[in-house]
Symmetry: C2
Subunit: 130 residues, 2 copies
């Protein structure tokens, strides 16, 4: 698959796909003429990247995290450092999640009491999935 198709199927702009590659995530091979040629696995990885990006992770964090997520078989890697890195990243995620949930609750609570349109009938704001 070439980059345009990957872009469509991963919801990542062409620009960003190239950027991620420049940063060392995602390494599609190339056709003889230099076109990027993505495998289905590459597409999977692209989607994971988007997920991590949506979660607010930096490219640098993804760089450490992706090799873990991409395959279920951990290999090589200096373990102490990696483990520490992952634990740190999880801690950061937890902090962020907690902050977001608190913020969400406050906004939702406020919304609940909003003296708006005719009345508050269907207060649909306890959705949890996306």
């Amino acid at each position: 698959m070439q980059i345009g198709e990957i872009s469509d199927r991963s919801d990542i702009s062409v620009r960003m796909l190239r950027y991620y590659e420049a940063k060392g995530l995602l390494r599609p091979h190339r056709t003889e003429s230099g076109y990027r040629d993505y495998s289905p696995d590459d597409l999977e990885e692209a989607r994971r990247i988007r997920q991590l990006a949506n979660a607010g992770l930096t490219v640098e964090a993804m760089h450490d995290l992706l090799p873990c997520i991409i395959s279920p078989e951990p290999t090589f890697h200096p373990c102490d450092r990696l483990r520490a890195r992952l634990e740190a990243e999880i801690a950061k995620l937890d902090r962020k999640i907690s902050d977001m949930e608190r913020s969400r609750a406050q906004i939702a609570a406020y919304l609940e009491g909003l003296p708006c349109e005719g009345r508050r009938d269907s207060a649909i704001l306890s959705s949890e999935t996306a």
Copy 2:
């Protein structure tokens, strides 16, 4: 209180406190000589700002959200627009939270199976900052 103390107590740098003010969040009054003079309420607001910032919200989003969080009495405000804005922001938060939780779970799962601390060592981490 002056800015340095607020900075200490809110964990927001002096630079960022001024930045938030420039952006229209937080409006401490000034002493005759021009010093910012923060009230305890301002400190509270600063902490909320930090929380929202930690949650990954932009200043622009905070600008819409803060007046809701800051006081329990919603007033004025073009309600339809505000309501829509808040709901959108909540949806965005939900998406982000969901992505983060999924990412967290994957990392944690990987960490679980890490063949470490008493095991093989090997290659160097390719820390390449392209």
